[in-house]
Every structure is written in C-alpha cells, then in structure tokens.
C-alpha cells in the first residue's frame, strides 16, 4: 500500500502524517508513507487544498486533517 500525504509541511500536514504513520504501525500494515510537497505534482492529482491524503492513487480526503478513526477505516 502506498500512502501519500500532500502538504507544504506546515503544522497541520505534519499532524496528518503522524496520525497516518501511527495508524499504519498500530495495524501492522505493510505500507509506505510519503510526503508530497510539490504543488505542481499535487495539481496534477487534482488537489487544490491541503492537507490531502492519497492511498494507492485514490484521493481520500482534501482540505482538512482527518481523524484517526477515518484513517483506520481507509486502511482496513
């Protein structure tokens, strides 16, 4: 599973990254968590507000930090 967190690296994006990494670790899932900070790349994916979470190419959430319970649902 490939998880990409989109955001320029401000506090809320970092928080999302931590939430997702923690969820991956807790559930023992084989997944890579990457950060995307390039705005042009985000635009190519159709993301125009941050933070955003993309799992295996599918945009799960844009423009707000998801709660842990939501992340758990995407990962299951």
């Amino acid at each position: 599973m490939k998880i990409v967190i989109c955001g320029p690296g401000c506090a809320s994006c970092e928080k999302v990254k931590k939430t997702v990494e923690q969820a991956v670790q807790d559930r023992g899932i084989d997944a890579t968590v990457e950060k995307e900070t390039d705005f042009a790349e985000m635009a190519r994916m159709g993301i125009f507000s941050t933070p955003a979470v993309v799992i295996d190419g599918e945009v799960k959430c844009v423009g707000r930090a998801p709660e842990r319970s939501e992340v758990d649902k995407w990962l299951s």
Binding site: G7, P8, G9, C10, S12, C13, F39, A40, M42, A43, R44, M45, G46, I47, F48, S49, T50, P51, A52, V59, K60, C61, V62, G63, R64, A65, P66, E67, E70, K73, W74
Partner: protein, 360 residues
C-alpha cells in the same frame, strides 16, 4: 474546469435517518442547557474575579498589583469562554463551506461582484496560510480572475472569527465592527485595484503552463451530528493551539494595564503623532503573530493612550501582511506582483489608520 465528483467521502460515520432525528432532539436539548450554563458562568466572571482578588487574596483596590491580578483573573476565563463558543459555532458553519465550493461560486463571477463575494467568503471558508498556494492554483485553474483571488487571499487571514471574538471581548462590539468592516473593504478594494492593473503576466510561468488534473471534489453528505462533531474538533484544534497565546497576551496586557502610566503611549502612538501610522504598518510587516496574541496587547496599548487608528493599522499589518505568507506566495507570484500586493494592501491599511485617528 472539469470536476470529478466523488459521491461520498467516507470521512463521516454513517447515520441512519431515525438515529439522526432522535440525536438532533437530544443535541438541541443539551445545546440549550449548555448555552444557559455558559451564560450564567460568563455573567458572574467579573464579580467573581473581584471577590478573588480583593476579598480572598486581600489585595488593595487601588494597588498596581491588585489591578493587574484582577484584570488577568477576569479576562482569561472570559476570553477563553467566548473563544470556545464562537470557534464551536464557526466550526459548524464552516462545515457548509469548503474551499472547493467557494472556488465553484467564484469561478463564474465577474470582477466587482466577484471581489465582494470573495471577501465575504474569505470569512467563512476554512483557510490556513500554508494552503494559500494550492488554493491559488485551484482558483487560476478554475478561471477565477486574479483580482478576485486576491480579495479572497486578503480577507481570509485578516478577517477571522478569532480576531473578531478577541476584539469584541476586550474592546467591545464597536471596535470589532470597525475592524470587520474596514478589513472587508480593504480586501474588496485592494483586490479590485489589482484586477484593474491586469497583472496576469506577473504570475509565475509554470503556473500558467501547469497541466493540472481534474479537481477532486469531496461531496460529503454530513448529518447534523457530523457538523457538531466538526465544531467540537475545531474547538479542540484551534482553542488547544491558541490558548497559550491568549494567556501570554493577557499576561502582558495585564502588566501594562497595572504598571504602565496612563498616557504613556500617547506621545508615540497617539493621534498627534501622524507618523505613527506608517511606522505601525512597517513594524507590523516582519512581525508574525496570530490575532490571539496581538489583541490583548492592542487592548492594553489603547488603554494607555494609543490612538485607535494607529493600533488597528498595526494589528492589520501584523495579520494581513506577514512575511512567511509572502515567502509561500513567492512560489506562484513574481516579486513584482508581491510588491504590488504589499503596496496596495499597505495603502489600504494606512488609509484605515488615518481615517479612524481622524474620526475618534
């Protein structure tokens, strides 16, 4: 711009109709009870703070220390209670306004009407300055005129619920209303002027050549329970983040309140010192603070003889013209356009400062 509509983001708990109906009645009941309790505590804060300071701690009513302590004990819970209530309500309102929706509204708008709408939407659309660039790209892609985009980018950080709550709580509704109105007018007029200058060529080239994908739009069907949950999350995130600034700001404010002599600020920030308005704007640009930290200090300065216009100009400059945001926007705007942006918004703030120094 074409958009892909995702029928439902599975971000929210599924709620059956029936459960939601029952839940709504319960929520309404709990909400009104909570609001009543809030009001009872809120209205008792002033006498309680006096009782604590003068009777329980035995501080003298005319002493500097007494003044300072009473100010602190009264203002901190008062501002925190106001902040919690308003952030909760705004969190619920914001669940109706997403950036995607705002972009769609503005895409079809012409200038003038577009500037007015963009500034108003700036108040209610969730926005943080680090998402200014993707937002800008999205607006450009959707064909929102440059000036209209700027109206949004000026209003969104400057006119926000936190600034308004603090101004209302510490300085009264008149100052809050003046700030709201002049902030909106600056955003509308500055955006309109930037649009009239036709500076589209001063956007970075890669933005214009960018091949963007179709915008992903999360169409969420939120129940009232979900929206209230959003309000709760907003309180947790925002109040959890700014409380320390509020306490520190009121602490500094309390010290100024108790120890700095009256009229101390009159000479350097008073009405007669015309140069204090441009100086306040210049000093404010490199300073970066949120409204939570700046308003308590502003309140204390006003109390010591600083003029309202000067203080408003200072506050607007700190919030609206921030260096970090310029650095972020530099990725999409050429330096010339950033300079025009600073000049136009700075002039608007100067004008506001002089105007209110003349009126009050």
């Amino acid at each position: 711009m074409n958009t892909i509509h995702i029928p439902r983001c599975d971000c929210s708990e599924p709620n059956s109709e029936q459960k939601d109906g029952k839940g709504l009645a319960r929520t309404l009941f709990l909400g009104s009870a909570g609001l009543a309790l809030w009001w009872i505590i809120y209205s008792r804060l002033d006498p309680a703070s006096r009782f604590l300071t003068y009777d329980l701690f035995g501080l003298s009513r005319d002493s500097h220390l007494g003044d300072t302590v009473q100010f602190f004990i009264f203002e901190v819970p008062k501002v925190m209670m106001l902040l919690t209530l308003i952030v909760f309500i705004v969190g619920i309102i914001r669940s109706f306004f997403t950036q995607e929706r705002t972009r769609r509204y503005l895409a079809g708008k012409r200038e003038s009407a577009g500037n007015v709408m963009a500034a108003l939407l700036g108040i209610v659309t969730p926005f943080c300055s680090c998402s200014a660039v993707p937002l800008f790209l999205g607006f450009v892609q959707a064909g929102v005129p440059l000036g209209v985009t700027f109206s949004f980018l000026i209003a969104a950080p400057m006119v926000n619920e936190i600034a308004l709550v603090l101004l209302y709580g510490l300085l009264g509704w008149k100052v809050a209303a003046i700030y709201l109105t002049s902030g909106l007018i600056i955003a509308m007029v500055a955006g309109w002027i930037i649009g009239r200058l036709h500076l589209d060529g001063w956007i970075e080239d890669w933005v214009r050549e960018m091949r963007a994908g179709e915008a992903v739009v999360m169409e969420e069907k939120l129940t009232w329970a979900d929206r209230i949950e959003r309000g709760r999350i907003a309180v947790r995130d925002i109040v959890g983040k700014v409380w320390i600034y509020v306490v520190a700001g009121i602490g500094v404010g309390a010290a100024i309140h108790g120890y700095v002599p009256e009229d101390f600020m009159a000479a350097i920030m008073g009405k007669d010192a015309w140069w204090s308005v441009p100086a306040a704007v210049l000093v404010g640009i490199p300073m970066y603070s949120n409204a939570a930290g700046i308003v308590p200090i502003v309140e204390a300065l006003l109390g010591k003889g600083a003029a309202l216009g000067t203080v408003l100009a200072f506050m607007m400059s700190v919030i609206a013209l921030s260096l970090p945001e310029m650095v972020i926007l530099r990725k999409v705007l050429k330096p010339k356009l950033i300079a025009v942006f600073i000049a136009v918004v700075g002039s608007g703030i100067l004008f506001t400062g002089f105007l209110f120094n003349m009126l009050f």
